[in-house]
């Protein structure tokens, strides 16, 4: 490390102005009040003792640096707050000092593994200090990195273990991939279309399960009057941390009782019920060992710790008590809210205190609002009553919509067939025809008796079909018959659609085995098609060779479909042969002929081809495009 020039800045400490500087030997920092003569008022902090740095945000008006010092022999850390008040450039000075300090401390940490790790959180504290000024660059970025995900074999394995269908597709596709594509290339291609699944899986598997209410999770079973249970070492750990009382009981009793007996008796005891929050009834068995502790406190001093915290007034419920007349005014608190013995609503209280304990063990993801006032802008913002501050500036992205008719107007060339027909008509004739058509006389209600519907609809009762052939008119029998036919056709088609959705018919006569093979073939073909288009559209000349191989693979995919079709046909032939044999047998035994049409046997090649038709078309399309592109380059495709 190059010698750092002495860094200093004007800073106030305990409301006195002074100078803040890093000593020449870089082992300590010191603050000297202005015009100080004696060394008494000089504050000196050894760099080795600094456990944490905090700085006000970049945007804040006040520039302050907070240094947490913890001498090796002290139990509590001391905080020093320096207020940089240089008239010219307080922020620059503070940043320079902070950066220098950060470097010094990390260098120290790297050199000396024995550095006292106060609270075991030194590095985390450092991270906070740098996070104040810059966004974290490392951390969970791992699963945002597509390339990283694609090469994380371990992750992919674990995902495939979870998703057998994906595993099958992967294996099949890898088996049938063209040889020229190496495993790793195939891998990255395969996963490049599935990075989203990988990311979800990575995030999911990296989530840590937090503590839970362990007592209710342990479920002892009564087998033959004996209590059986399984508790893991972790569960014991959790019980101890959640219920310090159990730890105490264990400590005091276990040498006398053996481990197994201790736990089995504990889970039967009244103490267990009490800790779990259940009501203790008279019939519960007594156990002198555990009953002694029934009234003992199960508190780990958490309440004391909570009381000692500074709670911002704005969220401090107790802070309001004096304003609303305390306990004398207003409605009485709900009985769950009243202070008092835990005996009243044991389950609520137990669960509440348990939740408190669990939460206390979770590292806060947000800024602790219990930090000293004035330290953190973010906390202040979080607590501010925003609705009192007027409307926030609108933060929207403007969407400028243009009138669509504008860009329709100039496109008269593409008119539909109907419009072309309409254009040929003379408007006046059109209108005249329409007018005479709806003329009262022609419709037939000019008589003043209203419309005679039975004649108006044109159905002629007496007409026989002979006459109608000459003049097809509205409501003619032929048209009505045709209409009926069309409607019934529609009904039939729809009925087929409704009935055809059952599981049996969805196989369309194929055996489950063939169908599964077909599904797999389809999946891999789709996979290869995907790869083909990715490469084809990438425009990357380096991948042209890969592309040619991919086309070969598609050709083979076609063969595979045909193979499945052939097998299906074979299967169908077998069914037909068997049935024929049956009929022959029956005939030989009983001389009875059974009518049977081989066409009634479903399945076979036809069904497979039908099912795969879209895929086949997709393959053909891909090949055609490829050949076209080749032909465009003057390369003979034959």
């Amino acid at each position: 490390m190059a010698p750092v020039p002495t860094i200093q800045g004007a800073a106030g400490y305990k409301k006195k102005d002074g100078t803040f500087s890093i000593a020449q030997d870089q082992k300590s920092i010191q603050w000297q009040p202005v015009g100080a003569r004696d060394a008494e008022k000089v504050v000196t902090i050894a760099v080795a003792n600094i456990t944490n740095l905090q700085q006000t945000p970049e945007a804040a008006a006040k520039v302050m640096l907070k240094i947490f010092e913890k001498p090796p022999d002290a139990s509590e850390s001391v905080t020093h707050l320096f207020h940089f008040n240089s008239p010219s450039n307080p922020r620059g000075e503070a940043n320079a000092i902070k950066d220098a300090l950060t470097n010094l401390i990390s260098a120290l940490k790297a050199n000396d593994a024995n550095t006292p790790k106060a609270n075991g959180a030194t590095s985390a504290a450092m991270a906070i200090a740098s996070a104040v000024t810059s966004k974290p660059t490392s951390g969970p970025a791992r699963w945002y990195d597509d390339a990283g995900l694609k090469t994380d074999i371990e992750l992919q394995q674990s995902l495939m273990k979870k998703d057998p269908a994906l595993h099958r597709t992967y294996m099949e596709a890898r088996r049938t991939k063209p040889d020229i594509i190496s495993d790793s290339q195939f891998n990255s291609q395969f996963w490049s279309t599935r990075t989203n699944i990988l990311r979800a899986h990575a995030v999911e598997s990296h989530q840590k399960r937090g503590a839970y209410n362990v007592l209710s999770a342990v479920k002892p079973r009564q087998v033959d009057g004996e209590l059986k249970m399984n508790i893991s070492a972790e569960q014991v750990q959790l019980i101890f941390s959640q219920h310090p009382l159990v730890k105490r009981v264990y400590d005091e009793n276990v040498p006398k009782l053996n481990e197994m007996e201790f736990w089995s008796r504990f889970f039967l005891s009244r103490l267990f019920k009490k800790l779990k929050g259940e009501r203790i009834v008279e019939t519960d068995g007594t156990d002198p060992t555990f009953d002694r502790y029934l009234d003992a406190s199960n508190d780990s001093g958490l309440d004391q710790r909570l009381l000692g915290l500074h709670i911002p007034n704005i969220i401090d419920l107790e802070g309001n008590e004096e304003n609303q007349g305390g306990s004398r005014g207003g409605n009485r608190a709900d009985f769950t809210m009243r202070p008092g013995s835990a005996a009243k609503v044991p389950i609520v209280r137990t669960l509440n205190s348990l939740s408190e304990k669990i939460m206390a063990h979770v590292a806060p993801s947000d800024v602790d609002p219990a930090d000293p006032i004035g330290m953190d802008e973010e906390t202040f913002n979080a607590l501010a009553l925003k609705d009192l501050q007027g409307d926030a500036a609108e933060n929207r992205i403007m969407l400028n919509i243009k009138e669509q008719s504008q860009f329709f107007a100039n496109e008269k060339s593409a008119v539909s067939a109907e419009a072309a027909l309409y254009a040929k008509q003379v408007p006046s004739e059109v209108l005249a025809g329409l007018r005479s058509d709806v003329n009262p006389m022609s419709i037939g209600n000019g008589t003043g008796r209203g419309l005679d519907l039975s004649s108006a609809i044109g159905v002629l009762e007496e007409s026989d079909s002979e006459d109608e052939r000459k003049t097809a008119h509205v409501g003619s029998k032929a048209s009505l018959v045709d209409a009926q036919k069309q409607i019934l056709e529609g009904v039939k088609a729809r009925r087929l659609e409704i009935d055809g959705s059952s599981a049996q018919t969805s196989l369309a006569g194929l055996s489950q085995k063939i169908f599964d093979r077909l599904t797999l073939t389809h999946a891999t073909t789709t996979e290869f098609l995907h790869h083909f288009w990715t490469i084809f559209l990438s425009g990357d000349p380096d991948r042209a060779g890969e592309l040619a191989k991919m086309v070969e693979t598609l050709e083979r995919a076609m063969d595979r479909i045909n193979a499945v079709a052939a097998d299906a046909e074979k299967e169908r032939d077998q069914v037909i042969a068997r049935t024929k044999q049956d009929i022959l047998d029956i005939y030989q035994r009983t001389q009875k002929k059974t009518k049977w049409d081989p066409k009634s046997v479903a399945g076979g090649e036809k069904v497979v081809k039908e099912m795969m038709e879209p895929t086949t078309r997709a393959i053909q399309k891909a090949m055609k495009e490829y050949k076209k592109a080749l032909a465009a380059e003057g390369i003979d495709t034959s």
Binding site: L431, R435, V459, G475, S479, V491, S538, D540, P541, D636
Partner: protein, 356 residues
């Protein structure tokens, strides 16, 4: 006339099956009807539709009906008639004998509707100017559908108000699943094709109808419109393209008479293949594969000029698309040239390529 629009039926609606409201959207595009006149003149079609309306009203005496005309330049109510136009009707009818509504041979509600419908249709045709017909060849289908939807909304609110005394108010808008309220449906009698320029408004009304569970039935006499197919498909209505328009009555009575309640138990004779394609916003072409703006979801048949969305002016990135498929072999050839020293010797597709 307004007093007749079915409000006198409300009292009877308390018991029995729930009444249904049928809104018929009649496409009166003069061009299309003129083309269709040799096979099915408008007057005959109206007569057939009137029989259908009568049948609908006869099913339940609380059933209601409304008819909207989707004309070439505007959408007009045919029945119930808007109050303002009723006065002009009186003036026009003076040269004819005033219709006798008390004809003993005709059920009065039938006569009322028939009279009003014909009168307003004549009105509409007589007020259509030549230049209206000349300037446009399409029909205001989107407007007519909107009118129909708003009428249905009004009728539903009115119905649930009047019946709220006897049963809990069921608003079809709040509880689309309800089976007790007014059952509304829309029947579009369409004769003209080419609605691509109304793609967006029609799809909007379609989705509104879908939300309100109002089926839109399409009876297609002529022409073909992709979007009406989609409208009936999304709203679970019936789409029929008539093979023989002269059998209109048969179609109406067999396929379109049952209301939603009855249809649950019937197999509807709808066309099973639906064309789901959309129209591009730039050339009104119905497209198979298109480009969609990621901001405003506008559809284009080809990437707009400079990759700037025509509708919202957003600059769009086309990703790898710029690499046209044909590029690959060309570059491949280039590469071969580099490797092979400038010859296009490779002739077959399977030629081994240096590299991978």
């Amino acid at each position: 006339m307004n007093a007749v629009d079915g409000s006198d039926h409300y009292e009877a609606a308390v018991e029995g099956p729930s009444p249904s409201l049928l809104v018929i959207v009649l496409d009166t595009n003069p061009h299309a009807w003129a083309l269709l006149a040799p096979t099915l003149p408008l007057s005959k079609a109206i007569a057939n539709i009137l029989v259908f309306i009568n049948a609908h009203l006869a099913v339940n005496n609380a059933n209601q009906v409304a008819v909207v005309a989707s004309h070439s330049h505007r959408a007009v109510w045919l029945y119930p008639r808007p109050p303002s136009s009723s006065s002009s009707e009186d003036v026009e009818m003076t040269n004819d004998q005033p219709p006798k509504l008390d004809d003993a041979n005709k059920y009065r509600p039938f006569a009322l509707i028939e009279n009003s419908l014909l009168a307003s249709l004549r009105d509409l045709i007589s007020t259509t100017a030549e230049k209206d017909v000349a300037t446009t060849s399409t029909t205001q289908m989107a407007g007519a559908l909107t009118l129909a939807l708003s009428y249905i909304n009004k009728a539903t609110v009115l119905y649930s108000d009047t019946t709220s005394s006897s049963k809990p108010a069921t608003n079809a808008i709040d509880a689309p699943e309800n089976t007790t309220g007014l059952q509304s449906r829309i029947l579009v009698v369409s004769v003209s094709g080419d609605l691509a320029h109304q793609y967006i408004p029609i799809m909007n009304t379609t989705f509104a109808a879908q939300r309100l569970r109002i089926p839109i039935d399409i009876l297609k006499l002529a022409g073909d419109t992709v979007f009406l197919q989609q409208a009936s498909d999304t709203t679970k209505g019936i789409y029929m393209h008539l093979r023989s328009p002269q059998g209109l009555l048969q179609y109406l009575m067999m396929a379109f008479l049952p209301d939603q309640m009855a249809r649950k138990h019937l197999v509807a004779p709808t066309q099973e293949v639906v064309d789901f394609r959309a129209a591009c916003f730039c050339h009104r072409k119905v497209v198979d594969v298109g480009f969609v703006c990621s901001i405003c979801l506008s559809i284009f048949c080809s990437p707009p000029e400079g990759a700037i969305c025509l509708t919202c002016s957003t600059h769009l990135a086309l990703g790898d698309y710029g690499a046209k498929p044909a590029v690959v072999p060309r570059k491949k050839k280039k590469k071969r040239r580099v490797n092979g020293g400038g010859g296009d010797t490779p002739s077959a597709r399977g030629t081994p390529v240096p590299g991978e």
